[in-house]
């Protein structure tokens, strides 16, 4: 193999390495538009819409002791309407409901809306569409357990407490946020739900 061929081989090797290096460091466009982004994202437990039926004494008698419940509740979770306004103009709206196949998981809100970078008035509304009042039949919240005694009574109280806890934990039926923010180019503001204060808040990433 001549020295010229060796030099050629070395040159091709170097060129191949250069191609790999160049290909490994390519500046690729990501967000070309100078717009900013309003990200609306949170998860929270939705309100449950239940229909509760009081079990008759005969049915209770037929049920094994460890499975006896005075009130049997079945239902689903409420739907919510999310609306986002920019400077008074609706820019995004969507109906969301609990996740999971049976819609009994938390409600997950995740929207990304591009808006021009400027001082902007952002209004976010999160409104419950369904409520216990719209469900057919008696509302579980107002059901009263009948007088009972013994283990059944203890269980009934516990179930009622559990329902009350779930209601308390559920996201409020109405959440609103109306704020003016200054959006820098390619900046992101996050509108999220703070479960501690039970309202929508804005995060900008700066401490």
């Amino acid at each position: 193999m001549s020295s010229l061929t060796r030099a050629g081989g070395a040159a091709v090797t170097a060129a191949t390495a250069a191609v790999i290096v160049a290909g490994s460091h390519v500046r690729m466009p990501e967000f070309v538009s100078p717009d900013a982004m309003v990200r609306v994202s949170w998860s929270a437990r939705p309100e449950r819409i239940e229909q509760c039926v009081r079990v008759s004494a005969e049915e209770l008698e037929r049920t094994p002791v460890h499975m006896r419940r005075e009130m049997v509740c079945e239902g689903t979770t409420a739907r919510y309407r999310l609306e986002v306004d920019r400077n008074g103009v609706l820019v995004d709206s969507v109906t969301v409901r609990g996740g999971g196949l049976r819609r009994d998981r938390e409600v997950y809100v995740y929207r990304e809306i591009f808006v021009p970078a400027a001082q902007t008035r952002i209004a976010v509304r999160f409104l419950r569409v369904d409520s216990s009042a719209t469900a057919d039949g008696p509302d579980s919240n107002v059901q009263q357990t009948r007088d009972s005694s013994g283990a059944l009574a203890v269980r009934a109280v516990r179930e009622q407490e559990e329902r009350a806890r779930r209601i308390a934990e559920a996201i409020p039926p109405v959440l609103t946020l109306d704020t003016v923010v200054t959006l820098a180019s390619r900046a992101v503001i996050l509108v999220t739900y703070d479960p501690l204060v039970r309202r929508l808040i804005v995060k900008t990433g700066t401490p």
Binding site: V12, A17, R27, Y110, R186, A187
Partner: protein
Amino acid sequence: MAAPQRPIERIAWRALSAADAACNRLYGWRGNPLYQSGTIVVALLVVLFVTGIWLLLFYRIGSPYESVARLTDMPIAGNWVRGLHRYATDATLVATLIHLLRMFAQGRSWGPRTLAWVSGVALLALIFICGWTGYVMVWDEFGQSLAREGARMLDTLPVLSEPVSRIFTGERPVSSAFFFVNLFAHVALPLGLAVGLWIHVSRIARTNLLPPRPLMWTVIGVLFAVSVVRPIGMEPAASAFRLPESVTSDLFYAFWLPASRAVPGSVALGAGLLAFAALAFVPRLTRRLADRPAPSSVNEEICVGCRQCAADCPYEAIEMIPRVSVRSDEVARVDPMKCVSCGICAGSCAPMGVGPTGRTGRDQLGAVRAFIAEPARRHGELVVVGCDRTAPELSRVVRDAGAVFYPVDCAGSLHTSVIELLVRSGSGGVMVLACPPRDCWNREGPRWLSERVYQDREAELQARVDRRRVRITHADSRDARGTDAAIAAFSADLARLDAATPDATLDIDAICEPIELEAKP
């Protein structure tokens, strides 16, 4: 004859053979990296494994970016190793794609090779995902970009109740659990690669997993030199509250990002899956139906049970089974599901009892007898035996050099009796023009041929044949200059010998006759 190439395979082959020829000129066929693309991938995977283990010692899932930044600040133990890991990742993908193109162009994608092809596509997907998770580990802007795009695709699947994209919204810092899962995938996938590789080569005998050492160390050395000369830096850290205008990306693993971002996640995911599915579907598209060459078969009346064909078969398609007749204890049996019809076994069977229909040793003898009997044949002429692959390009070169071209299916399947007949019938010399050993379409053809001619491997070239009149030369299909030089050199050597004369003792029609089988008592 081997199955003809399809038009698209021919186009790919033309491009590849041109590149092969150029590399052969620059590096010689022993050092041609294109011939060794598959083994280079394995060598690079080993490099990735070793450097990956080292880098893992420094990585912290609780502070991924900061831990990689600390690593980057250490040039020798950190950044150079990181650079080698990174560039080896890119080179792995490039070598894999070359290997894939090579197999496609050579028509080695269908029939018994379907398993290797499909498992190879699965390996490509794994390599791709492995690279993807590796970049996410750094958690810079590029890593975040890949993670967000991957999450966007996953969110289109109806099995996840919570959008994966919510991990990166900025509600809270990205959890260590995410980086743990990502790290686990990055470490676990290579185990899948190992299993896939085992399946990939499972139908190959005498697997060579690593390239020749000079080539292997050259590749690794070049990548290491590159990592020193062009060290890997740190991009800005990922942030949920900043949209980068542009990101320094690895084109090899992120070429699809701009297109993907422009379409819904479901379309991007579907397109990606479709691309890999299409690749996996290639064997169906390239398979031969009517023109599929017949697999080898065994003539039990001739087979002496010597096991040579089973030993030589590059695809473990031949096994020895107990024989029911008295002739020998065993007889060869070809598994048609594994046989690629390469014909190597035809050259390995001394009594010529095995081979693809029409290409057995006996068929080869019939053809060479007809060739010898042609009126145009002259005593003392140089006969160049070349295979189907080289014939279109090099037969003209051979004729221009004053030699006679004698085409055969594959030099590796050439029975040595053909060479013997040519020499003893009065040819001045016989030069076998074989493909470079590392580029044999049938894997081990040139190696077996050489051992049969020079090292008494069955079916060996008989001692009565003057070896000075036989030469094996390796040339790629476009190596006209090398072929011409080899013919000239051989002609010069032959000129120093006595004039060739036909061997008076040669019985050109002599051949072992089949023996009728007798059942064992």
